[in-house]
């Protein structure tokens, strides 16, 4: 297919996607303005928009956003460093891969969010328990992808480099690392997404501050319009962060 054709297809599907979103908002508006849906259950989108403008103009969101992003940054940094280094160490031996890969994979399927009450007990209601939950959930995809990346490098590349006299350091830098990099990067992207999800989620369950906390607080106060405004705000932030991470991943993988 020609690139021109490709682009036209892409524009067409984008148009359908935008039209769909627009249709949902329109239904939402009609439902609240004319079809008598309770304003407490579902506020009018116009009200939500007004609240959203107020939230942004007043800068009221800043402390909560800072808390959530700090938790995310700390959790992601910890899970990256531990996940990549532990994954690398495991990948160095076929025996360790055989023992630990299935073990870690089965732990990954445990709903770790169930440990939140325990984490709250250990680390308190504040940032500590959120960092703990974000770290332990995002650790798994990162460590598993690191094992997969380093552990399953095509043998022919290693043999070829060895035949040309590559030292261990050269082998790591020029062969293992670039071969594993795209796979690890996918793990980092998944880890980032689940860290963000679990931190926001745990903030809505038990917390003192943060965006998730703010949303629950508004729900309990029956300020539905403002709550919806906060939800939209968080959705935009999350979409922005995920798009940024995916773009970084694509850029690093291109070639």
């Amino acid at each position: 297919m020609s690139p021109k054709h490709d682009r036209r297809d892409k524009i067409a599907s984008r148009a359908v996607q935008i039209g769909f979103l627009f249709g949902v908002i329109l239904l939402w508006y009609l439902g609240t303005a004319y079809w008598g849906i309770s304003r407490i259950l579902l506020p009018n989108p116009v009200n939500v928009w007004t609240e959203l403008k107020d939230i942004i103009a007043s800068g009221e969101f800043l402390p909560d956003l800072r808390v959530t992003l700090t938790e995310l940054a700390v959790a992601f940094t910890i899970s990256c460093t531990t996940g990549v280094s532990i994954g690398y160490l495991i990948s160095r031996s076929q025996y360790l891969i055989k023992v630990f890969e299935p073990l870690i994979a089965s732990l990954y399927s445990v709903p770790i969010i169930l440990f939140l009450p325990l984490y709250v007990l250990f680390f308190g209601l504040g940032e500590g328990s959120k960092i703990a939950i974000g770290t332990s959930i995002s650790f798994f995809p990162i460590v598993l992808n690191t094992i997969a990346g380093f552990g399953y490098v095509d043998k022919i590349f290693i043999t070829a480099a060895r035949s040309m006299g590559a030292s261990d350091v050269q082998m790591f830098r020029y062969v293992l690392l670039p071969a594993a990099f795209p796979v690890i990067l996918t793990g980092l992207r998944i880890g980032f997404t689940v860290a963000l999800l679990s931190i926001l989620g745990s903030e809505t369950i038990a917390s003192l501050e943060g965006l998730g906390h703010r949303i629950v607080h508004l729900a309990e106060a029956m300020e539905t319009a403002r709550m919806f405004a906060y939800i939209s705000f968080v959705v935009v932030i999350a979409a922005f962060l995920n798009t940024a991470v995916s773009a970084l991943e694509r850029r690093a993988k291109r070639r």
Binding site: I156, A160, A161, S163, M164, G165, A166, Q170, Y174, F181
Partner: protein, 273 residues
Amino acid sequence: MSADSTAIRVRDVSHQFGEPGDAQFVQALQNTSLDIVRGELMCLIGPSGCGKSTLLNMIGGLLTPTTGAVAVHDKPVRGPLPHDIAFVFQENALFPWCTIIENIKLGMVFQGVPKSEQEPRARKALEAVGLKGFMSHYPAQLSGGMRQRAALARALSLETGTLLMDEPFGALDEQTRMVLGEDLSVLLSRTEKTIVFVTHSLGEAVFLADRVAVFSARPGRIKEIIAIDEPHPRKPAFVTTEKFAKLRNSLYELLHEEIRKTVDQSAAMGAAP
């Protein structure tokens, strides 16, 4: 044959995978000896699993023989000798994350070539294989034949005395193989390299080799060595001569029986519970 004309000396090597009695035990090569003369192209041909690739890897120091010894230029081979031996593998062994020229330079980085020499040597090698216009492409952007040319360029740039080629054209279609074979013959007639070339193709063996070593079925030994007395570079027309046909036929006769044995062996293995 005087002693110092021998480039590669293989003495009584055997190789087995696993221990006798194991289910996976394979005697790949048995008590094989072979002298390869400096500057000649020696083809190894034989049925699948006869150990010809195993022998190549032992010469290159990628495998250690279970018994026996290999020496290259009187140096005993105990591991890879990147300054003496370069490989061209059957599979695509170019690094997919590097461009063609980066691939070639990386080989020289591994071998320890000074940085200032890398660029001119890489360009020279690419020119020799006719890929000068593709040096900034990634391997995935090239055809299979071009990728093997690039792999050959990488091996040439290392400027080793010996080149080991493990079915380098094995994954290519017939026409591409023929063209690459012709080009290789021209290219190699200009160098003094000693080459060991593993192939499945009778025609390729006759067209390229100075001598062809025919292997027996597993456990592999060298059954016979046939000399191909025809100067390099060989013309494409060589393929249509009676001499070519005769040599090819005699190779076929030698091999046919061994291939039968191999097929019967694997049928017997398939029938076992």
